[in-house]
């Protein structure tokens, strides 16, 4: 009946810490009733399907902010990423990320997943079964690769991207994850990242940055004509952002790892207010700097607020969560402008949203939470940065040198939909009137 420390040592520790911090007079339940176990597990499964829907969010956002002639390619990539992510996470990822007792740097608990008889009882964990643990984590895993997808869109070869995804999600994301969520060295050091501003978003963002550098900009992006390459469907992009926001209730809310009423509801509030403040921050920036309020920036603002609060959604106060979101919304607009000026071509703003605001969010924990050290947070940011950026760079470079990373000029011009897939997103000689 006791919680197994196997996978969840680090998390239980944190839960204990903050559970206690927030509910000082409640003893931490070391074992739970059947009913409580069922509630916890049910909430974790709800969180799981919410995180799942984020993959649709990404698919919509990325295809909306790019050209119609590449929409099939992006939708294909996103469908592929979640599928490859789930399968590889079952084969190796879960056991690389949660190796149990290990040296704190790399460990591996073996191939495949298996609950065993205890895995479906609260003896495994008071908050969820083994299966729930796996599927919740698996939905997270693919997110990191999907973040890369948007940044390298409209020019990367499909097969190269899928190979990158497989390696990045199965190995780099999971090893990096083990350092903290698996109970590794950064966890020991006291680094804090509640739901993954760094572990998921920055890791994805560093991959995006590496990809953008190796690939170079899209044809004509920084040419003589200043005309930017406009996204083909703002409704699609907006659907994407709202679905991501929705999914974040599970991403952050599920990271409580139980249905604890106080914590989960607090996380809902900080998450929502940070997102709202992100919108307002981006709105103000965009309106004042560009004079015309840019919808795509405001959408990025919502995501910026969400990424920003992710590291500390349970330890940052409600008022500060608004501040974290507001700053994220302001930062993201500046960052998009700056990255564009640096001629790093990121069609959807993935680097600004996930990397820059991921860093901001992680550091914000050190700033706004008395229980966490800014320096430790910074060490975490740098460690993850070095590992994921170099890892991604290595994979991209190897692909570039071997099977090639970028489609031909002609294919890029014609669109990857016809080039890679032989089909069109909006097919038919469309005479609808």
């Amino acid at each position: 009946m006791k919680d197994t420390p196997r996978r969840s040592f680090a998390r239980l520790f944190l839960l204990a810490l903050f559970g206690v911090a927030l509910l000082p007079h409640a003893a931490l339940a070391q074992d739970v009733s059947e009913e409580m176990f069922a509630v916890n597990n049910t909430w974790m499964l709800v969180a799981t399907f919410l995180v799942f829907i984020m993959h649709l969010g990404f698919a919509c956002l990325e295809s909306g902010l790019t050209q119609a002639k590449n929409a099939v390619n992006i939708l294909f990539k996103n469908t592929g990423v979640i599928s490859i992510g789930l399968i590889t996470y079952a084969f190796v990822g879960f056991n690389l990320m949660y190796p149990g007792d290990f040296n704190g740097y790399v460990g591996f608990a073996g191939f495949g997943i298996d609950a065993g008889p205890e895995g479906v009882t609260s003896a495994y964990n008071t908050g969820y079964t083994y299966w729930t643990d796996f599927i919740f984590q698996a939905m997270f895993a693919a997110t990191a690769a999907t973040i890369v997808s948007g940044a390298v869109a409209e020019r990367i070869k499909l097969n190269s991207f899928l190979i990158f995804t497989t390696i990045y999600v199965a190995i780099f994301y999971t090893i990096a994850g083990s350092w903290k969520w698996g109970g590794g060295w950064l966890d020991q050091m006291g680094f804090y990242d509640f739901a993954g501003s760094t572990l998921v978003h920055s890791v994805g963002g560093w991959g995006a940055l590496a990809g953008v550098i190796v690939l170079g900009p899209r044809l004509g992006k920084y040419g003589a004509h200043a005309k930017p390459i406009a996204g083909h469907s703002m409704p699609l992009a907006t659907i994407g952002v709202f679905l991501l926001w929705l999914g974040w209730f599970g991403f952050n809310g599920g990271s409580v790892l139980s249905a604890d009423p106080g914590l989960v509801s607090l996380v809902f509030v900080t998450t929502s207010l940070a997102a709202a403040a992100g919108v307002i921050g981006a709105m103000i920036m965009s309106w004042s700097v560009q004079h015309k309020p840019d919808l795509s920036m405001v959408l990025n603002g919502a995501l910026a607020g969400l990424v920003g609060i992710t590291a500390g959604a349970d330890v940052i106060s409600v008022n500060f969560s608004i501040l974290v979101g507001l700053v994220a919304g302001i930062i993201v607009v500046g960052s998009v402008l700056y990255i564009d000026r640096a001629k790093l071509d990121d069609p959807v703003g993935a680097i600004s949203v996930h990397l820059v605001c991921g860093i901001w969010g992680t550091l914000a924990v050190g700033i706004f939470s008395a229980d966490h050290s800014f320096v430790t947070q910074l060490i975490g940011v740098l460690a993850y940065g070095a590992f994921s950026f170099l890892g991604a760079l290595l994979i991209f470079f190897a692909l570039h040198k071997s099977i090639g990373l970028r489609v031909s000029e002609e294919e890029e011009r014609m669109g990857l939909d016809v080039g890679e897939h032989g089909m069109e997103a909006y097919g038919g000689f469309q005479i609808t009137h």
Partner: protein, 112 residues
């Protein structure tokens, strides 16, 4: 026979078509086009980068008609398409040597 090509503002289309109908025109063909001319486009911003959109949405109307109807058709168009502001558009007239109705094989005036 002549081909009258008029490039007008999109929201004037219904009015122009009515005026042409009244002046006896029985057939015409319409295309969505973009125009570049004295009427400047506008500035757009996308993700922080400003750029000017030089092309303005226009509608092109093509009418093939007997020589005798040309003047009245032109008059109908100019009256009904005019707002008095820049960008109201142009009318061009050229010659058509032959016209055929596919359904019946009738030709020239009879085909219109």
């Amino acid at each position: 026979m002549k081909l009258i090509t008029a490039i007008i503002k999109p929201h004037m289309l219904d009015g122009v078509r009515d005026a042409l109908s009244k002046s006896g025109i029985k057939g015409l063909t319409v295309t969505e086009v973009k125009g570049f001319g004295r009427q400047k486009g506008h500035t757009e911003v996308y993700r922080g980068v400003e750029y000017s959109v030089d092309f303005v949405p226009k509608v092109k109307i093509e009418i093939v008609t007997d020589d005798e109807h040309v003047a009245s058709a032109i008059a109908s168009i100019t009256e009904s398409a005019r707002t008095g502001e820049i960008g109201d558009g142009k009318i061009f007239v050229s010659d058509i040597g032959q016209a055929i109705r596919i359904r019946t094989g009738e030709s020239d005036s009879a085909a219109l």
